[in-house]
């Protein structure tokens, strides 16, 4: 237990001392994960809605595959992205390996299935509600998807935040494709793994507290923004 208090104290000291290294890796963590969440949401939210609105032959199989992909070990995603981006791989010439971009790509692959799955679930209920009206008004497929996304935004925000939560704490994939290079691709999670490896449990735990604190702040900020944007409550 003493270790935990020590770590909390250390975390507070790091934060309020504005330790430049801590600021740097925290900002990089945020930058990578926020970007990945935005991209994955841009793909996942419409896809989740599209899967609700469209009935096609292999729909069930596609949904089953997406749900299964949620369980994909990040290390496997990391290896896959590494092989793609390696100098010896098909996209090696782009020189993206060991850059924040590579980490964003890996995180997008990891969280898109989660966002699709949760948004699919949420949109399905809304669709049951809206179905008759949208059909009666002869809405095109695109209009149906856009209407469901617009009116389901609360639930979709939850889906996006779930994706964010998974990505911000992810370490296996970004360790491989980012390389945990100091000042270049080191983020909170890879720094935690590194300090744990050194047996510096206190510092690792302190970084963990910083990570959790940041995740909480992001969630509060998003909810705060979404409320002020819409004066009335639904």
């Amino acid at each position: 237990m003493d270790k935990i208090w020590e770590a909390l104290y250390q975390a507070a000291r790091l934060i309020f001392g504005f330790d430049p290294d801590l600021v740097e890796i925290t900002l990089l963590s945020l930058q990578v994960t926020v970007t990945a969440t935005l991209i994955a949401s841009a793909i996942g939210l419409p896809l989740g809605a599209w899967l609700v609105v469209n009935r096609f032959r292999y729909r069930r199989i596609v949904i089953a595959i997406i749900n299964a992909l949620m369980g994909l070990p990040p290390v496997v995603v990391g290896l896959f992205v590494y092989i793609m981006l390696s100098r010896s791989g098909p996209f090696g010439v782009l020189g993206l390996l060991f850059t924040p971009t590579a980490m964003i790509i890996a995180q997008v692959i990891i969280i898109t299935p989660i966002i699709v799955s949760i948004s699919h679930q949420a949109i399905r209920e809304l669709w049951a509600d809206y179905h008759d009206l949208l059909i009666s008004l002869n809405a095109t497929r695109l209009q149906r998807v856009m209407t469901l996304i617009k009116d389901g935004r609360r639930a979709l925000l939850t889906a996006a935040l779930a994706g964010f939560g998974r990505a911000i704490g992810e370490v296996g994939a970004i360790m491989i494709v980012g390389g945990n290079i100091d000042h270049v691709t080191r983020v909170l999670t890879t720094a935690i793994a590194l300090e744990t490896g050194k047996g510096e449990f206190g510092l690792a735990l302190a970084l963990g507290f910083v990570l959790i604190g940041m995740a909480i702040l992001v969630n509060l900020a998003v909810h705060g923004l979404s409320r002020t944007e819409r004066g009335s409550r639904w």
Binding site: R87, S88, L97, F98, H183, G197, K198, F201
Partner: protein, 267 residues
């Protein structure tokens, strides 16, 4: 400015700080990184030859793989057989020995196998096997793991059974496991001295010359991967083998102990 634009701007600013000097990617073993020597050497390298060394801290197997794929410009590892095989496959230009440290056998302070008084490393391992004392193996194909396997073979003992736990992890994680299980483990001295979570573990055996751990520097072959920074790799090699490096390496101490012995031939 939107929050996102701010983040991007900030990160660009951060990257820009390090864009001034030339970058070189070097894959190194965890044991080297955990020793803490890198934190002493890298700022000096940046100062002396304006080279920004980006470390990829991985196991020996992965370090060599990154080099073979052309994803780093040079490697610094410590596993002679694997290094020679790697060179034979045309992955690098040459092998340059830089320095060595030594391995030690770590174990519970009560030393249940009684290896403190063993004459050789082989005798120590035989005693561990004979008493079925718990032993944690890296099991990750790293240089340290390879050294451990060679030592078992040398001792003529098959390391198998409940007492032998292969964890498939890096040095730090394996040491954490050994600390948790109160088990014996083979570690490089640097990692051990730098390791903060020692629990009830202590050095149980040391000093046998077979435990010496030679680090070698190998630039990736530019004929195989045209994009590698061969010039920067050569510049780094020159620095690593210079009297300046010798001085820094040999003065690096933890708890009053010198960790590395510089042994590069000055050409």
């Amino acid at each position: 400015m939107t929050p996102k634009a701010f983040l991007i701007a900030t990160s660009l600013a951060l990257t820009a700080t390090f864009a001034a000097a030339e970058n070189i990617k070097l894959s190194v073993t965890t044991s080297f990184a955990n020793s803490g020597l890198a934190e002493v050497l890298l700022p000096e390298i940046a100062k002396d030859i304006d080279l920004n060394v980006q470390l990829l801290i991985v196991g020996t197997g992965q370090a060599l793989e990154l080099g073979a794929n052309g994803d780093v410009d040079a490697v610094l590892v410590h596993s002679r057989k694997a290094e020679e095989k790697w060179l034979a496959e045309g992955n690098g230009t040459h092998r340059r020995e830089i320095m060595y440290n030594d391995f030690v056998i770590i174990g519970p302070s009560v030393d249940p196998a009684g290896i403190k008084t063993s004459a050789t490393a082989a005798d120590a391992l035989k005693a561990i096997e004979a008493t079925k004392s718990k032993f944690v193996s890296r099991g990750d194909d790293s240089g340290t793991h390879k050294m451990e396997l060679a030592l078992w073979q040398n001792a003529g003992v098959t390391a198998e059974g409940d007492w032998y736990a292969s964890v498939g992890q890096g040095m730090g994680a394996a040491l954490n496991t050994a600390a948790g299980m109160n088990a014996y483990i083979l570690a490089d001295r640097a990692s051990w001295l730098n390791f903060a979570n020692k629990a009830d573990l202590a050095i149980a055996f040391e000093g046998d010359p077979v435990l010496f751990n030679q680090y070698a520097y190998m630039p990736v072959n530019p004929e195989k991967h045209a994009h590698v920074k061969a010039d920067a790799a050569a510049k780094l090699e020159a620095w690593l083998t210079s009297p300046r490096a010798k001085e820094l390496i040999e003065n690096y101490q933890i708890g009053g102990q010198q960790l590395f012995v510089f042994n590069a031939s000055t050409k």
